[in-house]
Amino acid sequence: MKKVNMVSGFALLLLFLSSFAVANDDAARKANDLNNWAIPTGDFFNQRYSRLSQVNSGNVGQLKPAWTFSTGVLRGHEGSPLVIDGIMYIHTPFPNEVYALSLDSGKIIWAYKPKQDPKVIGVMCCDTVNRGLSYAEGKIFLYQADTTLVALNSTNGKVVWKVTNGNPAIAETGTAAPMVFEDKVVVGISGGEYGIQGRITAYDIDTGKRVWIGYSQGPDNLTLIDPNKTTHLGKKVGKNSSVSTWKGDQWKTGGGSVWGWFSYDKDTRLMYYGSGNPGTWNPVQRPGDNKWSMTIFARNIDTGKVKWLYQMTPHDEWDYDGINEMILADITVKGKKRKALVHFDRNGFGYTLDRVTGELLVAEKFDPVVNWATSINLSTGLPNRVKKYSTEAGGEDVITKNICPAALGTKDQQPAAFSPKTELFYVPTNHTCMNYEPFKVSYTPGQPFIGANLDMFPPKGEDNLGNFIAWDADKGEIVWSNPERFSVWSGALATAGNVVFYGTLEGYFKAVDAVTGAELYRFKTPSGIIGNVMTYLHKGKQYVAVFSGIGGWAGYGIAGGIEDADGQAALGAIGGYRSLSQYSRGGGSLTVFSL
């Protein structure tokens, strides 16, 4: 009797242990350690929440800069550094240098300086940004502008392996952070303005061998959709759900790029992300729903197969990319505890879905000025479109006016944060509208495939281009809203100290009360902030840090050296953000704050 119990007990122990033998257990453990910020998104759920409370709403007013570091590079500094075991890993915009800094001595322990053909700069639509590094098992992963994915030894910066993910000659580039889930490092691809084929690709973290590719568009064998298993709002999608919504071969220049953030739930074994705009920006040229652009994907991490998906903006007419972060949170929705996925889309709607089944629970505007649709039908998932703001209905060579939001959306890639303490989401938003004129274009490999010109401006009668809001994803309501002169283009951080941090395009680093939104601290950093705030502990002291370095789409005028160009340049951003020139110049630095 005793022997049998021991054997079965041992078997159970083995089973228990094997369930933890997942390769990124290392990354997960490091991320749980409050000394670290080991994952670019804070955690796999993309909550950007820290359990640190040493800095709290009572004392954050006493924050001050503790130290700074200049990256030596200009142009838009997106993303944030990582901190793992007393070492800070810093990345830069093109040329994508990586520095490992000792937090004890401040010395640069190693540097990685990739050699890339500068021609790639010319095909990066929206500045030469890079959204950050990932870490797992002694390796730092960098995804370069030229689509090289490289694994560096985290101790000495030497290249362990490198692989080319895309082709810059046809304007495929890399801007998003690679993410490590289980035994894979996953990367997207940028170039939706150049008619590329959007996709997400998984590589083995040890060898760099490509394991699977999931295209956003094309026949089922490319998209990894199972006609009888993959569902859209609970219904099986059927055969060739993508190509059947495109005219002829147009899906081959169909965009659907993947350049945002990815989240992961180890219980569902699904990774969650969104696809970008369909090619071209001229909707008249590409009839059909253009699936699966503007879509939330849930893919199995082992095989890449799509379990469920949901297309938010069928037949896009405004460039409302679906790539923003998919925040996973276990919250109460309509009286029921749900494993939810919350997403603040470019199109101005804040969505709450069940991340297990893909059921749509809530979809409400997170800026009241949104006007291209009145609401989202929760059973069909379809937006109720307003003809007056349809660029398709307006037609080619006609300027359709006063559409809200502008193409850069009510929120672009700048990520929101979630606090399990308040159960609120903290969202950096844009408050802009546009005029949009579509026109006919032809596809030429490596050349822009856009076919639209835009003007951007604040909503009528208002002069603020942004708001920082708190959002209730159950009720679909704004709880509080702080207007900002410019779009809030930085990533937010929420903490257990009941403080929420973000940065502004003028360069202010700000702390606000998580419950009331009251501003508790601000500091003017050297340049506009488009980076993501992060926090860590070192020798028992809490630090909060953010990059400064204006750029990205909104800051393109200054970063790209064309701030005096006409208003329609940079897809309308020059006109919309012209006054940024009175507040910031280019820069590239990290400011680290403490009490």
Partner: protein
Amino acid sequence: MRVVSIAVRLGTLFFCIFNAYAIADNQNSFEEDKKYYVVDEQGRVGKKTYNGWRRYGTCAPCHGPDATGGIGGGASLLSAIKDKKIDFRTFKQIVSEGRLDKGMPAWKKDANVNKYYDDIYGYLRARSDGMIKKGGRPEKIPK
């Protein structure tokens, strides 16, 4: 000796006359090529000139959003057209074949350019002539 020198003088005469016609012809065509744009007294443009502004967008990364030269290394087109009296034929030749030694690609295979040489020339010529005062979206002549 005398025959040769007569032949040389006649040859030189023909050469000069031929060149005089050629120069006059070039100046004439540059003058004539104002026909490629339509701009009214208020600086509003016709449909093809407006389209020329839009298609110029392909050139903007190198030649600047205002066609006055860009960080991409391209020359100021407004000065070039004005100072060198570049007519439509010359413009089309440069754009379609490119200036490979200077890093300008040949655009003859790009349908966003090769269908609209006339519109693009018209827009740039109108800017160069001062008929459209600045860059940016020109106002269209109402129907």
